[in-house]
């Protein structure tokens, strides 16, 4: 029997399928690779379509239907929205920093005694700018502050979601770093397929490429540096901690993808190994 998207041909006899895009899409979905390469004149003699235009129209509509369903499936994963949230968080940081930098310069013009020295972080600066003599600058200060609040809420939400979507990875490095790793990889599936060595340097792209191009030393850590056990580790053992942590993260990501629930036994063993890697000597 010869199977085509428009029907089945056996001993010169054709059994056409209904000329309905939804039915064709289902057939393409189910039989996909087992279908033979079509010849439109066969579809015509089968009686599925009248002419060439009808052939393209039916196939086109069916494929649109199938592709729509495939897009919907791809976008329905729990990590897809989380990825957008992480990227929005990073963009927000960027925007707040740029705006604050500019507003400080603006305020310095209005107030010759103004300086950012000895002031603790952005919050104090933003407060000063909100009391600026210029109404327009006060407005900018208010926006910076509300963007900061938005950022804090978004960060909590990212962390909370990551705990659900990737419980094991989050248990090892916290929700925020886990989510950043996933976003850097491009999704949970992509992260779970990565070798530990790649996870270790995710987010250290510039350093990695200057290493590959020659000369520069290899990066020891990327995004995982943000995790306390890596950045608190002594210089001598930091590379080792990063390596061991990345190895456990690679396993954790796979458990998250394929099982999707916390594995306390694995976490206990992994934590012990990571802590042991941080002991000097």
């Amino acid at each position: 029997m010869e199977r085509y998207w428009f029907g089945e041909i056996e001993g010169g006899q054709c059994r056409p399928i209904a000329a309905d895009p939804a039915a064709v899409a289902r057939r393409l979905e189910e039989l996909g690779p087992s279908l033979l390469r079509p010849d439109w004149t066969l579809a015509q003699s089968c009686g599925v379509v009248e002419d060439r235009a009808g052939y393209i129209a039916l196939l086109g509509r069916s494929c649109i239907e199938l592709a729509r369903a495939q897009v919907a499936t791809e976008l329905s994963g729990p990590d897809v929205e989380l990825l957008q949230m992480v990227r929005t968080l990073d963009e927000t940081d960027h925007v707040v920093n740029l705006l604050l930098e500019r507003a400080v310069d603006w305020q310095a013009v209005l107030d010759p005694g103004f300086t950012r020295k000895y002031r603790q972080g952005g919050k104090a600066l933003a407060g000063r700018i909100r009391r600026s003599p210029s109404p327009a600058l006060r407005q900018v200060g208010a926006e910076i502050e509300s963007l900061g609040e938005m950022r804090t809420r978004l960060m909590r939400e990212v962390s909370r979601r990551a705990d659900q979507v990737m419980p094991n990875t989050s248990a090892l490095v916290g929700g925020l770093v886990a989510a950043r790793l996933m976003a850097e990889a491009g999704g949970l599936l992509a992260l779970a397929r990565m070798p530990a060595g790649t996870i270790q340097v995710l987010g250290a792209r510039t350093a990695l490429f200057s290493h590959i191009r020659g000369g520069a030393p290899s990066p020891k850590h990327g995004v995982i540096f943000q995790h306390r056990r890596v950045h608190n580790a002594g210089k001598e053992v930091r590379g080792r901690v990063a390596r061991v942590l990345a190895a456990k993260l690679a396993i954790a990501a796979r458990i998250d993808l394929y099982r999707g629930e916390l594995d306390p036994a694995f976490i206990d063993r992994a934590q012990a190994r990571i802590d042991a890697a941080g002991v000097e000597g």
Binding site: Y4, L31, G32, P33, R37, G60, C63, A67, V71, L75
Partner: protein, 201 residues
């Protein structure tokens, strides 16, 4: 392909991505589309009304929409869901585009959809671009044309673009293609080369 006062255009309904119009013709910008760049740089490739095209790496349908203005049917393969959303909107308005969400490196997945084509056009950001082209040759008729837009930076950033091009040309020749021309797409696209071949098999 049609030019109006030196500007490359295609005949069709406008407003796909905010392109300029000259009368009822859509301006085809060589900076946005590598195929337009190739045509403007003096290549002999042409698109004709009876042509059937397999387009790998359709992305969000910018170049696809122009190709569809010229030819009979375009089978547009794209793997990523986000650009596919845009491509589907283009398909809804242009009835001669058949969208396929699949990996161009696994042609067996769409072998039951695509018929024999006259032109195989490829613009994918993958390391193994020559290999993908060879695997898709089964759709190309004898004497048909392959246009491969080689992103040398996707193949290997540590090699010089010239070496990547030579290596790719060798692979394609060994795979049974006759090279008709190779052309760098400067000044429109950096480190991109177009390879035009004929299927001799």
């Amino acid at each position: 392909m049609i030019r109006i006062g030196g500007v490359l255009v295609s005949p069709g309904e406008g407003g796909v991505y905010g392109e300029r119009m000259i009368g009822s013709y859509r301006v085809w910008d060589p900076r946005r589309s590598k195929l337009a760049a190739l045509a403007l740089l003096g290549s002999e490739i042409d698109l004709a009304p009876e042509m059937r095209v397999l387009y790998l790496g359709a992305a969000n349908g910018t170049t696809v929409s122009h190709v569809a203005d010229y030819v009979e049917v375009v089978y547009a393969v794209e793997f990523a869901p986000r650009p596919m959303q845009d491509l589907l909107e283009v398909c809804r308005r242009r009835r001669n585009i058949v969208p396929i969400m699949a990996d161009a490196g696994r042609p067996e997945r769409y072998a039951g959809i695509v018929e024999e084509v006259d032109l195989l056009y490829m613009d994918v950001a993958q390391p193994d671009q020559a290999g993908i082209a060879l695997r898709n040759l089964l759709f190309l008729r004898k004497g048909g044309t392959l246009v491969l837009m080689l992103k040398t930076r996707s193949v290997d950033v540590t090699q010089s673009p010239q070496d990547v091009l030579e290596e790719t040309v060798r692979t394609l020749t060994a795979g049974g293609l006759s090279i008709r021309e190779t052309r760098w797409l400067e000044p429109y696209h950096r480190d991109h080369a177009a390879i035009v071949c004929e299927a001799i098999k």
